[in-house]
Amino acid sequence: MTVNELTEKYGLSPVIVPEGEREIRGGYCGDLLSWVMGRAQQDNVWITIMSNMNIVAVASLSDVSAVVLAEGVSLEQSVIDTAAAKGVNILASEKGAFELAALIAPDV
């Protein structure tokens, strides 16, 4: 499933989607950034409530397909701009991480 397909199927809000046709394979939930870098796999969707600038670097270096911000978390414009420049897809939802993971898991 692609990032665009995921966005549409579950009514996620596209915060910034520079590479919407990127394929998603598997996922990881977590807010501690070193755990994410240690455990998330390439092409995963990463569900988190973290919103600071470092999530862009972690998403880019871990090479995940997309970040999904849970619990209605919002980003500062500077974070969005950096994500756009680095080609990092970011989506958002009002749902919690547990609910999002349960929803998305069967599709990826």
Partner: protein
């Protein structure tokens, strides 16, 4: 002796938000050189963890990356407080980071273990009161 490409970076110890610039640049360079994605991922995560550590604990430092055909060598050097007990520091979950650093999502005690996880060789030379040099090697063959 094979020729290598060398990249040098100064890591700013004051700026947590911009931490990772060196890693992102190395990722870009390796991609342009045509290295496989999984090698690039391992190099850039190991280097980012090292950069973050230098910002958190040492007030910055330097990062040197030597790119050979069959391996990539990263040397991170700082003049921070040093690591008194390296075995303890290598344990997953052990951290001396402040609450402020933890609130940003770091300081989980996984930095050094991740650096070891993603590299084929890692050596830590540290002297308390003088600083730390970490040498990491990733084989590409």
């Amino acid at each position: 002796m094979t020729d290598s490409l060398t990249f040098h970076f100064d890591v700013d110890g004051e700026n947590f938000v911009s931490a990772g610039q060196a890693s992102v640049q190395v990722k870009k360079n390796l991609r342009e050189l045509g290295f496989p994605p999984e090698i690039i991922r391992r190099v850039s995560i190991a280097m980012y963890e090292g950069e973050i550590n230098m910002v958190i604990h040492a007030g910055g430092g330097t990062a040197d990356v030597d790119v050979f055909e069959d391996r990539i060598v990263i040397v991170l050097s700082d003049h921070g407080p040093g690591i008194p007990d390296i075995d303890l520091a290598m344990q997953e979950g052990y951290s001396t980071a402040t609450d402020n650093v933890r609130s940003l999502g770091f300081g989980a005690g996984m930095g050094l273990p991740n650096m070891k996880r993603y590299t084929d060789e890692m050596r830590i030379d540290s002297t308390v009161g003088k600083g730390t040099v970490i040498t990491m090697c990733i084989l590409c063959s």
